[in-house]
Structure formats: C-alpha cells, structure tokens
C-alpha cells in the first residue's frame, strides 16, 4: 500500500509548549479520522500537513514531499479549517472564484467550477446572492468545504467539518466525503463526534498531549491493546436467563442487566474462546436474540481506552 503522509520523529513546539512531541506515523490513502481531545496536537499536525507550519524537528511528507513553502504540493491539498474563516463582505461565488484563481484555475473555467462545487456541497442557489456575513454557521461550513474542494485536491484535510451542521447536513456532508473517497480523493478528517468518524473512516489516528497513541485501522488498534475487554450488548427476550447461562459457563468477567429494555451487557474474559463457544452457548440458553452490538468496537471505547 502506498503511503500518503509519513511523519518521522516529527516535533513542533511553541516556545516551551510542545504541540507535537517526536511522533512517527504514516497514513495510507482513504478516509482517515484524526481523534484527540483539545490540546492533543490535532491542529498543529493539520497545519504542518497543509504547509502552514514548519516542523521544529523531524520531517513530514505528503505524497513524498515536504509541504512547507511548497506551492506545487499545496495545490494537491485542500483544507477546511475549524473556525469561521470566511470573509463576511464577499458573496460565495466571488470568494470561491478568487480562491480558485489563487489555486491556479484558469479564469475562463473558474466560475463554472465554483458553481459546480457550491451545488456539490448543497448550498441552495437562492442564497448565492447573499454576503457570507449573512450566512448561518451551517451555510458557512458548506462554503468552507466547497473552497477546499474547488481546486480538485488529491488530499482533503478537514478540521471539524460537521460543526454547525444539522443532522441532515451532516449526513449530506458524510455522503459527499464518501463520494470523494470513492472518486480517489484521500481525506483526513478531525472531529470530536466519534460516532460519525467511526462510520466514515477506515483508519484512525489517535493523539493526546502531542503524542500519537494509536494509528491504523480500528481492528489493528484493538488487536494491539493488551487485555482489551470485549464488551457486547445483546438485545433479547430473556436477558436474565441468558446471563445466568453464560455466567454458569464461566465465560463472563461481568455483566449489566436491563430487563425492562430487554438488554444484557456482558464483558467476556477471553474473546477468542468466547466467540468459539458463542453459537452453542446461545442455542443452549434458549433465549431469542434480536440484536448483538459490540460496544468495545466503538471508536469512543477505543478513544477512552487509549487516553485514560
């Protein structure tokens, strides 16, 4: 697999404050989530990737090239920052056309491209005549996403792109990102809404205190964490009966019952052995199972595990 972003002993400090502390990792093409609490170093990393900050030591390459002071490379990268970063006195088309030209698009093609992108991010046409200062947060978010896509980047870096969007908007943006990914655009997305990242991203990069805590696919990360407790949520008609049976079989480390909801939450001792016996145990219990969800597979769980 080719490597999209490679960091080697990368550090960035601001005076005595460490933004990134000697991190080494690589990101492969596709959809990658960047997860970490405030101050984890996500923005520093994003700014180094988008060529806005110079590493204090070590190196980072995108498509094999260092982004700092490298306009030809930056042309291949799109960036959508977290906060409001739109000039309020301009209309969306005016701004996007200017940005398109700044990115090297030709004057005779930029208007059509800007219009297509605004349609793509589903900014209603009736609002195109308004100044950006009059836009809601969600609409500004769409325009910001649009400017990141305008010059057809190969890598799109998004910092909290779902902020300010309503649930429908989030779904639309997620759909757009999936389409982009399917179209060959690699995406690095930072978000605090872990459930959305989980549904969207193949790979994740977990940061805290300027260090990389985990990177790779969720499965790989889970397999790397020792003593990982497998937690399952089972929806069934007789949770107490099932709990008793599993407990008697000696496979549980613990469980929680919610009989009124028909839910049983279990923590298993040895995941591999449990899954080998699981079908037989279930049949023997006589309980009718409606749904099984792995709680430990959630990104939130992984995040909690590695940051505590």
């Amino acid at each position: 697999m080719t490597v999209l972003i490679r960091a080697q002993e990368l550090s960035r400090w601001y005076g005595i404050v460490m933004g990134l502390n000697n991190v080494t990792f690589q990101i492969e093409p596709g959809l990658t989530g960047l997860v970490g609490p405030n101050g984890a170093g996500k923005s520093t990393l994003i700014q180094i990737i988008t060529g806005q900050l110079k590493p204090s030591s070590g190196q980072l390459t995108v498509f094999g090239l260092a982004p700092w002071n490298n306009p030809p490379l930056l042309r291949r990268i799109g960036y959508c920052p977290e906060g409001e970063a739109v000039p309020k006195e301009l209309r969306p088309l005016e701004w996007l056309e200017g940005l398109g030209l700044m990115s090297g698009l030709r004057a005779d093609e930029v208007k059509g491209r800007a219009e297509a992108i605004l349609d793509k991010v589903k900014l209603p046409r009736e609002h195109w005549g308004k100044r950006l200062g009059q836009y809601s947060k969600g609409m500004k978010q769409r325009v910001k996403l649009g400017q990141g896509l305008l010059h057809d980047p190969e890598l799109l870096v998004l910092d909290e792109p779902m902020n300010g969007l309503d649930p429908m908007g989030r779904q639309e943006v997620a759909q757009t990102l999936k389409e982009l990914s399917a179209g060959g655009v690699s995406i690095l997305i930072s978000s605090h809404i872990l459930a959305e990242l989980e549904a969207l991203c193949n790979n994740i990069l977990l940061l805290n205190w300027g260090r990389i805590l985990a990177s790779g696919s969720q499965k790989e990360i889970r397999s790397d964490i020792k003593n990982w407790p497998e937690e399952l949520e089972i929806e069934c008609d007789a949770p107490e009966k099932l709990a008793r049976h599993l407990f008697a079989a000696g496979v549980l480390a613990g469980f929680d019952l919610s009989p009124e909801e028909g839910l049983l939450r279990i923590r298993v001792k040895d995941a591999a052995s449990f899954y080998e016996q699981w079908t037989a145990l279930l049949l023997e219990s006589g309980a009718m199972v409606h749904a099984i969800r792995s709680r430990s597979r959630s990104l939130q769980n992984i995040y909690d595990k590695v940051t505590t």
């Binding site: 060529g51 806005q52 042309r75 409001e84 940005l99 030209l101 990115s103 057809d152 982009l180």
Partner: protein, 331 residues
C-alpha cells in the same frame, strides 16, 4: 431525459503559473479597496488634479510660442504685459532647458509632494482590505493553505497598496506630465522635461514602495477594521503636528513622521535647491523673487536631511516587517 452524473467531478484543466496567482491576490485586493465609494472619489479627485496640472503645463507651453493664441491673448491685456511677455518668450526660447526642464522639475516637485496627502488618505481607506480583514475573518488560514507562500500573499497585498497609490498619485503625476507635454507646442518638450519625469518616477516609486510596506505593517497591527485606519491617520497627523515643535526642541523627532522623511527624499531627488538656484540665475524676474526667500528656508532646500530621513524610514520599515512577520501567520 438523460441521466446526469451527479457525482463529484474532477477538474482536468491546466493550472496557471505563480505570477498569475500573485496577480489574483493583488487584483482581488484592489477590487475590494475600490468597493469603497469614498476611495473612488479620492481617485477621481486625484485625476482631476492631474488634469489641472496638465492644463497648467499646456498654458505654460503656449507662453513659449510668440504667436500662439494664448500669448496673443495675454499680450492684449496691457502694453506693459505685452512688453514683458515679448521679453520673456524670447528669453525662454533661448533657454529651453531651463524654461521647460527646470520649470517642470520644480512644478512636479511641488505637485508630487503636495498631492501625496491624498494618496496617504486613500491608503488609509484601503488598509482594512489589505490584511486586517483577512485577520478578522481568519480567512488567512485558508489563503495560507492555498498554492501560494506567505511571501506570495504579502507580495500580492503589497501590490494592492502599490496599485492604490498608482491610481491616486503616480498615475495622475505621470498622466499630467504626458498630457501636458503632448499638448505642448513642440515635441522637444518631451526631451527637455525628461529629467522631471525621471525624478517623478524615482521619488514616486520609492515613496510608494515605502508607504505600501508601512501600510502592510499598520494593516497587520489589528484585526479591527476601524483600528488600523485610525492608527494610520493618527500617526500621519501626529507626524505633521510634531514638525514645528521638534524644530525648536529635539530635531530628530521630525524623523518620526514618514511624511517629513519622504519630503526630504523628494528634495534630494528633485535637487530643488540647485534647480531654484538655476532659475534664480537664469530668469531675471525669478531671481528677484527667490532672493526674498529666507536663508533658513533656502538652506533647508539646499541641504535636505537625507541621512536622518533614510534612517527614520528604515526603522519604520523594520518595525512594519516585524509586525507582519509576527501577525501574518496561521493561528
């Protein structure tokens, strides 16, 4: 109806070069500046000034031709004036280098120096569109992620400020020179007035570069749209106010005014003292007038404080560079 592909469309066009992208930054900045109606009025007033200057040059040029309509009309006013004009025109014809060259050099010095305030006002109005708004809206984050370096961005903004000054200062100055000499009775006027144009270009371009860089610095001081013009105008007015006070106390304080420093450079570039001496020695009537100029004033014209002015401007430019370096960075 055929189905259209609603999926993401890749863009397959050719990219423009870096100079084209820098030009876009400058052009967009200039368009943003010219959205201000007040600034458009200042541009208009500047060009009206240029036209008046051209008309004045046309009038002077006509006086050099004994049988021109203008000369004939002036000679009709009274017999004394007729005698004076005859003497004057014949003398001017004998000394075209002085009558055209020196006169235009002196005129363009005064026009250049005294039309500069209009350009400083225009630049003050343009300040928010330079860097302030980009800092206020945080759009600088997005600009710095595009295929341009910070240097390209600043160069574009510098060109915006330079463009505003070209529209309000150098443009009218050069326009007045060109039209004034185009309407002159003889093509040789262009030749005799060449030194004035060279001085205009040297002084104009260097002053515009300095003022544009200072404007970038002031524009980057704050992200409040009202603060940066207020700071600019306060600095300029304080500089003007401090000059008479500093003359009798701490003279170096005068160099805190960029206007004063640029005036010293203008005196040096146009060689005003030397040109006035030439005029005094060559033109009888001017000689009498110029002898009445106080010695202190003549000394100031003869010996501009170039060292202090350059030093003062260098300190200002360094400060502006430090501010820009500190402020024009992604958060």
């Amino acid at each position: 109806m055929p189905l259209h592909d609603a999926h993401y469309q890749h863009w397959g066009g050719a990219h423009t070069g870096i100079w084209g992208r820098r030009w876009v930054i400058a052009q967009n900045g200039l368009s943003a500046c010219l959205r201000s109606k007040l600034l458009r009025y200042v541009v208009l007033v500047s060009w009206v000034g240029g036209l008046l200057m051209a008309a004045f040059l046309f009038f002077l040029g006509q006086l050099l031709v004994p049988d021109s309509n203008m000369t004939r009309w002036v000679m009709q006013i009274s017999p004394d004036i007729r005698a004076f004009v005859r003497m004057f025109t014949s003398w001017l014809q004998d000394h075209p280098e002085v009558s055209v060259g020196t006169t235009q050099n002196v005129l363009f010095y005064y026009y250049g120096v005294y039309s500069m305030p209009l350009s400083i006002i225009a630049l003050g109005m343009a300040l928010p569109a330079l860097i302030t708004r980009d800092l206020a809206s945080n759009a600088i984050l997005i600009y710095s992620s595009k295929a341009v370096t910070r240097g390209d961005y600043l160069l574009g903004k510098f060109c915006t400020a330079f463009g505003v000054m070209t529209l309000t200062w150098l443009g009218p100055l050069c326009g007045a020179w060109f039209v004034g000499n185009l309407l002159a009775p003889d093509w040789t006027f262009f030749w005799h007035a060449r030194i004035a144009l060279i001085h205009v270009l040297i002084f104009g371009l260097s002053s515009m570069a300095v003022l544009s860089l200072l404007a970038l610095g002031v524009s980057a001081v704050s992200s409040r749209e009202k603060s940066t013009p207020a700071l600019w105008f306060t600095w300029w007015v304080l500089g003007l106010a401090i000059q008479p006070i500093a003359l009798h106390t701490l003279q170096w304080l005068r160099h805190l005014s960029f206007g004063y420093n640029l005036k010293q450079i203008a005196l040096a570039v146009f060689h005003l003292g030397r040109e006035l001496q030439t005029a005094q020695d060559s033109i009888p009537i001017l000689g009498q007038l110029l002898r009445q100029v106080p010695p202190a004033t003549r000394a100031a014209l003869d010996h501009p404080l170039l060292g202090g002015a350059v030093m003062g401007l260098a300190v200002m430019l360094l400060t502006a560079a430090l501010i820009v370096n500190k402020r024009v960075v992604p958060e």
